[in-house]
Structure formats: C-alpha cells, structure tokens
Amino acid sequence: MRFNEKELVCLSRQPSEMAAELGMRGPKKGDVVKRRLVKLVVNFLFYFRTDEEEPIGALLLEQCHVEREDSQTFSIAFLDEAERKYLFECDSEEQCKEWMDSIIKASYEFMRKNLIFYRTEIHRLTGKDPLEQYGISDETRFQVNSGSQLMTRDTSSL
C-alpha cells in the first residue's frame, strides 16, 4: 500500500504534549516489550527507537479499542482481534490514564461525534445552528443524521 511516507515522517516531528518513553510490545506472537519513544500527533501514534529521528512506525488511531490491562499498562486493539493488540507499559497509573484518555480523544471519529453533539445541543437550546456563521452547515462531515439539516427554529414558545 502506498502512502505519503515523507510527509507522515514530517508530521511525526511536530511538537506534541503526549510524548514519552514507554514499554511497547507489538501484536505478533513472540514480540517482546521494548523501550520506545511513543508520540501522539493528531490521530496517529508514532513510535521511535529512543535515539532515532525517524519513527519505526505509525499506528492509525481509528476504529480501535483502548483497554486497561493492569494498573500501569494499557493496550490498543484493532479489528477486535487479539492479533493486532499493542501493549504499552507506563511508569505510573496516572500516566497510564492520561495516555488512554488522550488516545481515545485523538480519534477523528470521536471528535466528529463531539462536534455533532455540541451542534445538536446548542441548536436545541437556542434554536440556532452554530455552524451557520461559518457557512459550513451543509457539509456532510457535520450532519446530525446522514443529511438531516438543522433549521433555525422559532423559539418564542420556550
């Protein structure tokens, strides 16, 4: 599969609040825990050998399950297969929680759902569609229910 590798490597160099050395274990049988520099940038989790500039790999954080394994360890599972489960060992419970939280929130789909929620709620409370001012109300990206449109409501009865 082709992908824009150089550009993705460039993305991995962007500053990120979530970057730390963690123990990481790959999904294949026989994979062992290795110290890696793990870095979260947009919806990708990059992992580097601790002394290297270019990441070894990039994990797309969409359609994945983040699960607590024990007090300091979490896993990211893809495709509901044990096969594609990556394990991460943190230095503390707090760090573990922080990473799990950040990874879940980094997903594009998670963010989209939030947006739709806020849009719906603001409209419900005010009768106005908050995306209208940006001229993006019609974009399919932000539709509440595959194409339903938010209309400015008469709120005189409220």
Binding site: E7, L11, Q63, C64, K113, S148, Q149, L150
Partner: protein, 251 residues
Amino acid sequence: MKIDEKVVNYFESCNSPVDKEGYLSKKGEIKTSYQKRWFVLKGNLLFYKDRPGDRDVIGVIVLEGCTVQLCESEEQFAFSLVWSEPGLRTYKFSAEDQASQESWIKALLSASHSYLALLVTDMENKYRDTLLSHSSQLHRPFTMPNFHTSAANFVEAGVSNQTLQPSNILVARVFSKKSPKLQSKKNSNLPPVSTPALPMLEHLGLSLDPEEDFSKMHEDFGKEVKKLIADWSKRRGGDEPTPDESLIDLG
C-alpha cells in the same frame, strides 16, 4: 517507516462516515500520466483504489500539513495537494467537471484533524456559554461540566484500587442500567451518543435524589434529541435546497 496496512484497509472499508467519494484522475508518481482512480475521503485520510468495489486500497494520503490549491495543468479541472516543505511532494488531480472540482476542493480544505479540533473547541466554548446563560434563566447554581472520557473509562476498567468519586459511581449505575453495550471492559474511541450528555447532567441533578433524577433527565434528553432528529428528517423532505455557494469565483 512502517504503517499498519491491515488497520488502514479496515478503516477504509468499515462503515465509518465517508466524507466524499468519487473518481478523480491522479498524476502518477513515476509515470507522469494521469490515471483514473476511485477516491474515498474519510476524516483526514484520502484513500484510492481502482474501482469502488475493490477490497484492497492501492494507497492512502494523510491530509495533514498540506494546502489545497488550484493548479496549472494540461488537464482540465485540476487541483493539487501541496506540502510546502523542501523535499515534500505535491499531488496533482484532475476532476471530471467544475462541480466535482469545487466539491473536492471544499471537502479537502476542511479535512485536517487540526481544523476539526479547532472547530470542536469553538463549539465546546459556545456550548459552555449557552449552558451558563441557560442556567441563569433557570435560576440554578451551575458548575461547568467536564467533558472527559475518563469518567466512563474509569468505571468500566474496574480497577479495584481506585477510589471512585460519587459522581463516577452515578455514572456507573446509569451506564449499567441504560446502556448495556457499555458494560464490556473495552473502551472504544466510538462512545455511544448518550455519553456526552452525562457530564452536564451529573451537576444539574444533584439537588434531588441523584440517581433517579439523573436517569430520568438522561432519558428525557435522549427523547428530545430523537424527536428533534425526527422533526428535521420530516421537514427536510419539504425544503428547498439551499443554493450552493460557489467556493471559487472562476467568473
């Protein structure tokens, strides 16, 4: 650098929302001729394959750090994705007609993760302001809700040495009563729509019997949203389509 191809393929084929799809001609990376491909835009990822029905993706373009531009080309209705840093590439495309060109450009312009992040933050602030002004109308003291996934994760992880805050216990009980699918230990990054409503309700329901009031409010909210959605669906049938504003003035 490796990329997990199975995961990427899966994301393309699963039923997560497709933001745009269609045929475009793409200038080859080695051969300079344009080749027609089927493109699928999902979030900040642009996938391409030979035909819509194909299972395997030929390639994917991660849309971060690039700009979308009209470009000079021997092909008509051309546009490009440009990474401006040295050594980084430009992808050139050509659409079938002007409408398609404009539509693709518009979709790609708003595809980045950062764009969505900014928009969500903006909406979150607006929501906060709306609730504050709303609650002052209701004459209730108001605490700003904390929109965290951690309340949900906390509960479901079932880690026994955690001290649960009362509000989290509340969350736990409601989840087990109302949302059976959340009972699994796994936390996906696809929370059900009901989740976001909870943080706010936690605070509003505190004056009365927390558990009962909380569940009832949660249900009421859910019903209201469903009703609204139903109303919009009905009304949408009778509406005149709003004219599409031309993104690019080519006149």
